[in-house]
Structure formats: C-alpha cells, structure tokens
Subunit: 197 residues, 2 copies
DNA sequence: GGCATTCTAGAATGTGCATTCTAAATGCCG
DNA sequence: CGGCATTTAGAATGCACATTCTAGAATGCC
C-alpha cells in the first residue's frame, strides 16, 4: 500500500444499496453512486471491475444478513417463525429490505458480473433454497403444490405484506409485524425438535 | 387517409405487452417492439408520440381487463371472490398478467408520458382504489392496519402467489387457482347483499 | 528527500437506445 | 391518370451512461 484510500469499498456498496432501495435498480448509475459517496466516478473502478460487480457484491452482503435472520427458524422447522423473522429483519434494516426484497437478483445485476460473483450469488440462493426444501421435506411437503404453499407462507406472503411499504426505504409502520399472523393461513404447529436440522 | 396502414396500433401494443411480460420493462425497446411487429422503428412514431406513451396505452388496455375482472366481486363485498377473480384472470391472460402484476406503473412507464395518458393511468388506479376503499368502509375496516389487511387479501396475496410463475408469461400451473383458498387467512363471509355497492 | 505505487479527479470514448429526419412507396380522390 | 397526404423504411442524431484514459497527488520505503 502506498497511498491511503480516501473512500472505502463499503462507502460505494452502501451508496449503491441506498440508491437502489430508494429509486430502483436503474437509480444506481456509476455517476450516482460516485456522487452519493462523494467520490469521482473513476474511483469506483479501482475497487470494482464493473457496475455489475459492485451491485453483485452489495447483493451478497445484504443477502447474508437476510439469510442469517431467516435460516435459524427454518432449520428448527418453524415456518411461522421464519416468516416473522423476515419481517423483523426488514423492520430493523429497511434500506436493506428495500434493496433486496422487491427485486429479483437478475433485475439488479445486469448480464455480466464476473464469474466468481455470479457463482457466489447462485450459491447464496441455493443455500437458502436448500434449507427451505429441507424444511419442506421434513414437513412432508413433496408435491410441487405443497412446496409452493410453504414458499408462499415463508417468503412470498411476508414480502407481499412488506412490499407496499418498502418503496423508498422508509421505516415500516410499527403495526406491520403484528399484521403478519393475521394474513397467514392456519398452519400446523412447528415441527417437533426431533425434526430440526 | 391516403395510404392504408400496414401495421395497426394494436400490433405495437401487443408486441410491447409480450416483450415486457417475457423480459421485463427494459425489454421493450423501440427497436425490439418494431422487430416483434415486423415494422421499421420509425413507424411507431406515426402512432405514438413516445415510448412512454406506447407503454402507457398498453398499461391502460391491460388494466381495463384486470379491473373488469376484479371490480364486480369487490362491489358485491366479496373479498375472497375478488382474489379468486384476480387469479382466474391471470390464468386466462398470462401475458397480460405477466405484464401488469409484477410491475409498478412507474417502473413500466418512464418519467414523461403525455399528460393525458398520465392522468388516464392515475384515473384507472383511482377507480380501482376507490372501489377497494369502498369495500373496506362497508366491511368496517377504517384503521390503516385493517385496510392493509384487506389490501393483502384482495391484491397482494394473490399476486404473491402468482409472482413466481408470472416471469416469462408462460401458462400457470393448473393447480395454482386451487392453492389460493389455502393461502388466504380465514375471512368473515361475504357482506350481505344489502351492503353491495 | 527521491521514487514506485496506488490513489483521486474528472475528461474522453464507445455503446445502446429514443427520437428525428429523409426518401421512396402507396392508394384514395378528383 | 395525376396529385398528395400518409405511410413505410431505415439511416442520422443526440443523449445518457458504463468504461477507459490522462494527469496529478499522496504515502510509505529506501
């Protein structure tokens, strides 16, 4: 190291997450990220090989936090707990939630991130999906239709509940977490511990 | 009229809907719409003043069909019926559903459609929202939280159920409509006819 | 202090796309 | 048949943005 960096990787990642949370994927232009971080646009390319790489790394960071919140209850076989954990995480990290939840990865990350990042994103998705499918298997849901039911309960219903309030990354209404149990269908009680993973 | 038109408005509107249904908002470039319709790109501008105007008119057309499906049960005070009608409409018109449901109008239509179209879009949204709020009032839901509950039941839960299958505009799995009652929370029975609108 | 290295700073380049422009073709009206 | 408004057809333009390039500045090591 010869010259100390004035801007950190994190400054750009945080700026990109905030811009996308507030303005959608196309709000994170290189110029906008640089402006938000107070840096010249060229500096970003000393840290990230491309815009796609920047956004992919931001996605990985945010998704890590999301997974850490949702995986434990899922592994315990507690679907309602996983749904609740998703909402709690979103309330605690509204910007992260507004970045991650309303967008498919392919809408955020363009066609050509570097191969290692593309694989890391796929691996992160598969890790979560594997845990979810493991839960389904232990819950006796094997038919496609039953897996779809649980996917809705654990992921899609909570995200749908949050969605109208995620735009802009504003704080969520305080009553929102309390609404989750009311919108979920009746569920069998959590699996016994013997089926935890 | 002196020369007969070889391409109709509808050809371009249909092409735009199909492209967005299959590839998202940014798939409907002027060149792509023209190619899909078999026309030169310039011809589009004899029909539509701008890309935003084209997409806005497509949105209005599709939204009309959507509203026609959902409004009657909503006016009858039948929330579960409205949710079911939404899913039935999506199954009957998968391309329209994949165009309309996963995207906010502002994600489809850029910043500057002509004023009349902007107002028409707002009016269409308000017509549906007014009917929905009327339903809420008659159902005794006045608190913001209660309105959010019904919005989830009528719109967000069905859309969330469809969402994973909408990408690409492929036909929906035949068992999907049957899953809707299983994912909705228990609801009070439909309002008596005396409260219909 | 001189120097290699890595950074900041922002201008230059190239690409993709919406929009506009020019030319040629078409078919109804008189 | 000939005039002409309207359309096809596609090339030219302009803009926004990702990426690259050039210049200069900072810092640790000798």
């Amino acid at each position: 190291m010869v010259r100390t960096a004035k801007f950190s990787d994190d400054a750009f990642l945080t700026a990109a997450v905030g811009l996308i949370a507030r303005g959608g994927p196309q709000a994170a232009t290189i110029a906008a990220v640089a402006r938000a971080a107070g840096a010249p646009s060229g500096s970003i390319y000393h840290r990230f090989p491309s815009r796609d790489a920047l956004v992919a790394r931001a996605w990985l960071t945010v998704h890590d936090g999301f997974r850490a919140a949702v995986l434990p209850p899922l592994r315990r076989g507690d679907a309602a707990g996983a749904a609740a954990a998703l909402v709690t995480w979103a309330a605690a990290e509204p910007l992260h939630a507004a970045f991650l939840l309303p967008h498919e990865p392919e809408d955020l990350i363009g066609g050509s991130p570097p191969d290692d990042l593309r694989q890391a994103v796929a691996a992160a998705q598969e890790a979560l999906d594997a845990a979810f499918l493991g839960f389904c298997r232990r819950a006796g849901a094997t038919a496609e239709k039953d897996v779809a039911f649980w996917r809705h309960v654990v992921f899609d219903a909570p995200v749908a509940l949050l969605r109208p309030y995620l735009r802009g990354g504003a704080p969520l209404p305080p009553w929102l977490p309390g609404l989750l149990p009311r919108v979920l269908p009746p569920l069998p009680s959590p699996l016994p511990d013997s089926l935890a993973c």
